[in-house]
């Protein structure tokens, strides 16, 4: 493969994100965020993480759009144009510096699919070899999520449940 396919997708994502910031209208920003989730999910699918792509499609493109719309429906007046103040001097100085720092830190990350990276030497083979003897579960992802990290998963589920209840309470229709 001469050039990698994720570069045009990432360019599209960048354009969409900039458009979602620069657009003058809340509804258009919601639509652009939906398109952004589509592109992000295409990038995940291209990199082979199909389950993450599915979650991104369901949550980002479907559920988040509808939740944003319900919020606009419940709160917004007729006029949904955005008024933002110009960025302050601190913002203009701090955020480019933060970006440069993160790019510098990212140069130490091992390359994509590098067979000599630490994750591919120690962790993945261990899980692949030992998970069946330890847990008697044929699916490795299920074994990691539900057995090795079961407490973590349980508390995550509690957090998601609490946020779902909060959304339902905030967005409920008042009694007719």
């Amino acid at each position: 493969m001469i050039f990698t396919f994720e570069i045009p997708l990432l360019l599209l994502m960048l354009v969409t994100a900039a458009g979602a910031i620069l657009v003058k209208d809340l509804m258009s920003a919601v639509l652009l965020l939906g398109s952004y989730s589509f592109f992000l999910s295409l990038v995940w699918a291209w990199l082979g993480a199909v389950d993450v792509a599915f979650v991104e499609a369901v949550v980002g493109a479907g559920l988040a759009t509808v939740l944003f719309l319900l919020t606009l429906f419940g709160t917004a007046p007729k006029d949904t144009r955005l008024r933002r103040p110009p960025p302050s001097l601190t913002t203009l100085i701090v955020f480019p510096l933060l970006g440069i720092l993160l790019l510098y830190a990212a140069s130490d990350i091992p390359g994509f699919g590098d067979p000599n990276s630490p994750a591919n030497i120690h962790i993945s083979p261990t899980y692949l070899e030992r998970s069946f003897q330890d847990t008697h579960t044929p699916n490795v992802v299920t074994a990691v999520l539900m057995d090795y990290r079961s407490l973590d998963t349980m508390v995550e589920t509690v957090v998601i449940f609490a946020s779902g209840i909060a959304c339902a309470l905030l967005l409920r229709r008042h009694g007719k």
């Binding site: 599209l12 209208d25 699918a45 479907g62 509808v66």
Partner: protein, 88 residues
């Protein structure tokens, strides 16, 4: 054959760029909604072509079905909202 599929994917991405121009530019919100719908159609086709390219259609096809259904829910919700509120 793989090169042909790759060319198909790149041209679909360029088409997505054309629709994205309409989403970013569109004078009214309805133009943006139409452009978003076109982008989601292209994304569904692109996912299936990606599955053929990787020889793993069985993994990718389920996301496509999910996309197609969710796209309907989101777009209909936006259209209902605009119908009741009037365009900004």
């Amino acid at each position: 054959m793989n090169i042909f599929l790759f060319c198909v994917m790149v041209s679909l991405t360029i088409l997505i760029g054309a629709y994205l121009y309409r989403v970013l530019q569109g004078p009214t919100i309805f133009d943006r909604l139409l452009g978003h719908n076109g982008i989601s159609t292209k994304a569904i086709i692109l996912l299936i072509v990606m599955g053929i390219y990787f020889d793993r259609v069985d993994m990718f096809i389920d996301i496509s079905i999910g996309y197609a259904l969710l796209n309907l829910v989101g777009a209909l919700a936006i259209a209902k909202y605009l119908e009741q509120k009037g365009h900004p």
